[in-house]
Symmetry: C2
Amino acid sequence: MLRISKMTDYAVVLATHLAAAEGPHAARDLAVQTQIPEPTASKVLKKLARAGVVVSQRGAKGGYALARSPEQIGVNEVIEAIEGPIAVTECSDETTDSLCEYETNCGVRANWQRINVAVQRALSEITLADMAFPGTAELVLIARSSQEAERLRAAGPME
Amino acid sequence: MLRISKMTDYAVVLATHLAAAEGPHAARDLAVQTQIPEPTASKVLKKLARAGVVVSQRGAKGGYALARSPEQIGVNEVIEAIEGPIAVTECSDETTDSLCEYETNCGVRANWQRINVAVQRALSEITLADMAFPGTAELVLIARSSQEAERLRAAGPME
DNA sequence: CCCATATAGGACTGAAACAGTCCCCTATGT
DNA sequence: ACATAGGGGACTGTTTCAGTCCTATATGGG
């Protein structure tokens, strides 16, 4: 976890680029503009299309465009499009349940879900619009949210 | 990013186990209790010790214990102990600066920092105490924090 | 109707990271 | 001193990742 793969980096760059521009763009053009090797950029865009982050238009004059407006797409969608479901441990996989013999141990692993939720929420709150048009608004939001959490924590365990 | 490595899983399980128990525990005992292969558990514990998450006592009657109280250790520390610094892209690496020729492209990559901060904050708000003693307190905290963010967002771009 | 353009899907490969093991050294309590 | 227990690092087989390439399919325009 937490080390960004190059593919994911590319995906965010490409998606952000699409967010800043209108209309369909050919994979080749996007690759040139973002300085990403063309075949690789193409591969990434295909994954984004499969995941429903972007829509594609085949044939002449075709290309890629965002599936929705930049404000409606969180970076979590982009990341998950490349990496698959966020932060899954074997134990939280539902295919084989109660494989853990030791309850305490399994209880610990169940807590991963809590971590997953926290990360997912943090990522979903950052949209492609935030990435494409860096303003100060969401930085203020983050700062205030952080202070808020700090304050709540400092207040001690709550009833 | 976002796919949990086994080592990291082990680290959280071990750290949580230590949070629930008092005093020093031998790596061997921890391995047995958590069902983690002994040499691997030992390796993970060494990394946690290096990172300052746990302290070690060598020699007979030695073992590992948390370096601080469970409430003071965020899971981000445990994860970073295994994976290294969170979510670093080459571009945000300070060793070679301004290697990006295209400003717009580099601007996008600079935004990764925003993502990193969000993830880090989310992880630091979950402590080993939360993992070891699953209560409702921190769930309330998360819920309130989420609502707060939602409310701020709904209020629109701020001045 | 035909052709140039552009994506869809998947096979393939070399490189890098990961999981796991093992060995030798140092520290410490009895 | 001796048994116990961690520190550090070397080593290896496996898996994943990054990147490329090829063939098939869809589409707009002359």
